[in-house]
């Protein structure tokens, strides 16, 4: 069974039956902008018990009727709400742009103002928040910067409430506050909590203001916001499934009480709630002021027209910048819970390999389809995804590729389709899977989309847009335990992984320590801010050599943080990133960025070193010549198992976090030797790799500076090209050698399991695999041994 989850089918939502309760009806009082909002709320409440309640949609319709009509018109006319002519834009373009700028500016201003209410470094320092304005049916009109993935996940949550009949139960009134962090309804993972406030004008819902922030802790059995090692939804922590938690723009006391008991960091959670509500109120006030000045009908026409405008702009850009065809860029992720045997259920304590065979299809009719047919099965781990999460990932990728210069809203999303086969990690047939770290599979998946679009941009000559995707955003450092402030139940999620190196472009190296796919304007945060929250000191934070993927243009470099557990008897700590696999390839001959590894030194002599004022490690630099290990004594933990249940660390233990670099573009032997010399002199390239990767011959002067030997480099590179041809073989020969191993599936169990699952879940995958390797029709991958 396949479910095509798209704007045109909404198949996943069909299960959400709602009961219309016609007995609960309320009369709406008209609200005008010059009437103080709180008084308007009071008057509405006073009138909220009468026997008859009018629908809150437009022209006497319910919101549910509006969403059905919107979808019908899109299918029947091909245009959002059947808007065939952009009459406002064409008739008065200045006014059209002015309205847009006011709405957009209001939302950006709301974000910048509201984040100051939060106390969490994740929100204040990193900017892990985003606001959006939505239509009454839940389509996004405009959004702020920040974690833009949630512009569409919030849309999904609003649509869920509309489809489920919230209009009649629990009812939707002015000043109501709804909260969601349920990935099954509209989210990526429950760490991202969203507030949604309806905007009423004269008794009608004219839109929704919504905002999302990333929390510090979610009240799971393990501390922090994105626990690793959870095997089902029942271990994911606190999940709020589109709940009404406030009225009159305020949280209910019972909900505030629950916050205090549900999570380890209620202080941050509560202030984040207030941050989101404040942002939504700013957006609402801005919308009401605009309606007052421009008129309700103009506003109503505008919000539909601007979404249709963006839908068309997306298709125009597709036609302008790409080439119709099929693009395939698979990606992978290792899951390494075999090391947790005895500490996790037996069925969950296994190693797995995620297969994401992303196919992107661009039609000559400007259709845009993503398809992960062939993906593997969901698992008893934290990394499963929901279709809602995938839509969020698609959205954040679109913002950075095909619609960066146009009005950004759900119009682009409406022009796309996404096939997420049922039963896979992308659309589990088990509603109780764990989703705490869906990004671990989402990020590789959407790297494939960046690669596909970059291939198209190269074909059309728009080389300035080419980028080899993002690296995986890790290492993700999280933990908890008794903290330095006396809290026996501390929890923290460090977000310096918002600043991984970005991948190379067609014409430039990638940026070092720069951004994350889910928050392209992310910040690593000051070490002092993290030290306030976490009982760990930063001994050092340095750019890490050789982390960017080599190429004619190399990936931007990642960095390393050397942390020491301090002022606590112990902390449990996680890692999180790829270790045994590259998540994807580079582009046009570029290599992928380096993988990560976990690295701790336990039972150290740091306390004694500090007391004696001896040297201590402030950098690590090279895994084969670790400067940490050279400057401290202790038990070394160093392996590629980066997904594991919390690992206890004691005071003065060291934890080294390696942040990823981006992927490379182009042949390494075409890299300008001057750039290689520059990297050597900056400490970005370990000297022993100047020859083996780049064929550069150089020597180090007495001042320590590297100097190029250009003729020798030219000769060395010519020699290396000949060596490539000498040690390579034809693909035909290689396939003949490899085929017996494939037929017998002589691979490690995670690889065998990956092939088994893809064969079980996809007829297309089965057929193409057998055809490629020339296997008989009745061939099946080996069963588990």
């Amino acid at each position: 069974m396949k479910i095509v989850f798209s704007t045109r089918t909404f198949g996943r939502h069909s299960k959400w039956k709602w009961q219309q309760d016609k007995g609960v009806i309320m009369a709406e009082a008209a609200q005008s902008f010059d009437k103080p909002f709180d008084k308007a709320q009071e008057s509405l409440r006073a009138e909220s018990l009468p026997e008859t309640r009018q629908p809150i949609g437009w022209a006497g319709k319910t919101l549910q009727e509006m969403i059905a009509e919107s979808e019908r018109l899109l299918v029947e006319t091909g245009h959002y709400w059947g808007v065939e002519r952009l009459s406002l834009k064409e008739g008065d373009p200045i006014r059209y742009e002015k309205i847009w700028s006011r709405l957009r500016g209001g939302i950006v201003g709301a974000r910048e103002t509201a984040l100051n209410i939060s106390a969490s470094p994740i929100v204040r320092e990193i900017g892990e928040l985003c606001f959006g304005l939505f239509t009454p049916e839940g389509d996004s009109i405009t959004l702020s910067t920040g974690i833009m993935a949630h512009v569409h996940t919030m849309s999904e949550a609003i649509k869920h409430m509309v489809r489920s009949g919230y209009e009649t139960d629990p009812e939707i009134h002015p000043g109501d506050v709804f909260v969601n962090n349920d990935p099954q309804l509209g989210d990526v993972h429950n760490a991202d909590v969203m507030e949604m406030l309806p905007i009423f004008y004269e008794g009608e819902v004219v839109g929704w203001a919504a905002g999302v922030t990333h929390e510090t802790d979610v009240g799971a059995p393990q501390p922090a916001s994105m626990p690793v090692g959870t095997t089902s939804r029942y271990e994911d922590g606190w999940i709020l499934s589109c709940q009404k938690v406030g009225t009159h723009d305020k949280l209910r006391r019972d909900y505030e009480n629950r916050i205090n008991t549900a999570v380890r960091t209620p202080f941050y959670w509560l202030l984040d709630e207030k941050c989101r509500i404040a942002g939504c109120r700013i957006i609402r006030d801005n919308v009401l002021r605009l309606i007052q000045e421009e008129g309700l009908d103009t506003y109503k026409n505008f919000i539909r027209e601007v979404i249709e405008d963006t839908r068309r702009a997306f298709q125009n850009n597709l036609r302008m910048m790409t080439v119709p065809g099929t693009y395939r860029f698979p990606s992978f992720m290792d899951v390494t819970h075999a090391i947790d045997r005895g500490r996790m259920p037996e069925y969950a304590a296994v190693n797995s390999l995620m297969n994401c065979p992303l196919e992107m299809r661009i039609g000559v009719d400007c259709s845009f389809e993503l398809d992960v047919d062939g993906a593997g099965k969901w698992g008893y781990h934290s990394f499963n995804c929901t279709p809602s999460g995938l839509q969020g990932g698609l959205w954040v990728a679109l913002c950075q590729t095909l619609i960066p210069n146009d009005k950004v809203n759900d119009g682009a999303y409406l022009a796309t389709r996404f096939n997420t086969p049922y039963g896979t990690w992308a659309n589990p047939d088990n509603p109780a899977v764990s989703n705490t770290l869906s990004w671990m599979f989402l990020i590789p998946c959407f790297t494939g989309m960046f690669h596909g679009l970059s291939t198209a941009f190269v074909a059309r000559g728009y080389l300035e847009e080419v980028v080899a995707g993002y690296p995986f955003t890790g290492n993700l450092t999280q933990g908890g335990g008794p903290n330095h402030l006396g809290n026996p139940n501390g929890a923290w999620s460090n977000f310096e992984h918002s600043c991984c190196g970005t991948s190379a472009r067609y014409i430039f190296d990638g940026e070092t320590a720069c951004a994350a796919v889910w928050n392209p304007e992310g910040d690593m945060g000051d070490v002092e801010a993290w030290e306030l929250l976490e009982p760990l000191l930063y001994l050092g934070r340095n750019i890490r050599p050789n982390t960017g993927g080599p190429g004619k243009f190399r990936g931007g470099l990642g960095f390393e943080s050397i942390r020491m557990v301090y002022h606590t008897p112990y902390q449990v700590m996680f890692n999180g990133r790829e270790g045994h696999v590259f998540q994807c390839s580079g582009l046009f001959g570029g290599y992928p960025g380096a993988t990560g590894y976990r690295h701790s030194v336990k039972k150290t002599d740091m306390k004694e070193r500090i007391a004696r004022q001896q040297d201590y490690p402030v950098r690590d630099v090279d895994p084969e010549n670790s400067q940490v290990e050279a400057h401290v004594k202790g038990e070394i933990l160093k392996d590629q198992n980066l997904y594991h249940i919390p690992d206890p660390h004691r005071e003065y233990d060291l934890y080294i976090s390696l942040l990823a670099g981006g992927h490379g573009v182009g042949d390494v032997l075409e890299r300008d030797p001057a750039l290689v010399i520059s990297d050597l002199n900056e400490g970005y390239l370990l000297p022993r790799y100047r020859g083996s990767i780049y064929g550069v011959v150089a020597s180090q002067g007495q001042d320590g500076k590297w100097v190029l030997d250009a003729p020798a480099t030219q000769a060395r590179r010519a020699e290396m090209r000949q060596q490539r041809l000498a040690r390579s073989q034809s693909v035909e020969e290689w396939m003949a050698q490899t085929r017996p191993r494939v037929e017998k599936q002589e691979f490690i169990e995670p690889v065998r399991k990956m092939y088994r699952q893809s064969h079980e879940l996809s007829e297309k995958w089965r057929r193409e695999y057998r055809e490629f390797w020339g296997l008989p029709e009745d061939w099946q991958p080996a069963q588990d041994i």
């Binding site: 992928p592 041809l725 193409e768």
Partner: protein, 164 residues
């Protein structure tokens, strides 16, 4: 909205990575120039040592070209022909597979590369001059990926408004 356009030298500088960042940034922030493709093809055509007409670039060294008698093939800058453009060009390339720690560690430090039991790097070289055309990172046993299958005829006919 005025239609943006760039002169041929600017596009040539972009291709050769000689354009300053500020100009590239302005290009990124502007609406796209509709005549880019034709200028781009013209510059690329002048840069290759053979005469077949370039229909679609696949990368810095690979092109889909039309031969004199109409056959459409994938061809490298060095002049190697990989056969019909609808077939995966990688199948006609030279291949070198990094599937041991020793091979990996020519490129990556220890522990900073994939585990060869989980994943291998397949390097596809131009059979004439040894240019590294693509690096594929996949688990052992994964079919060679056909990254891009363009619908060239429809592209020219329906999007560019001209025959091949």
């Amino acid at each position: 909205m005025a239609t943006k356009t760039y002169d041929k030298k600017t596009i040539a500088d972009l291709i050769d990575a000689r354009l300053p960042w500020t100009e590239v940034k302005n290009m990124m922030s502007s609406y796209k120039d509709p005549d880019r493709f034709d200028k781009y093809l013209e510059i690329l055509q002048e840069s290759v040592p053979w005469d077949e007409r370039i229909l679609l670039p696949l990368g810095p060294h690979l092109f889909i070209v039309q031969k004199a008698h109409g056959e459409i093939v994938t061809k490298s800058r060095s002049g190697f022909e990989f056969g019909d453009y609808r077939e995966n060009w990688k199948l006609k390339a030279r291949i070198f597979v990094r599937d041991t720690n020793e091979k990996y560690e020519e490129i990556y430090p220890h522990l900073s590369h994939a585990d060869p039991e989980w994943m291998e790097l397949r390097e596809f070289y131009d059979p004439i001059d040894g240019t590294l055309l693509y690096v594929e990172a996949v688990p052992p046993g994964y079919p060679i990926v056909h990254n891009f299958q363009p619908d060239i005829e429809a592209f020219y006919r329906d999007w560019l408004g001209r025959a091949l």
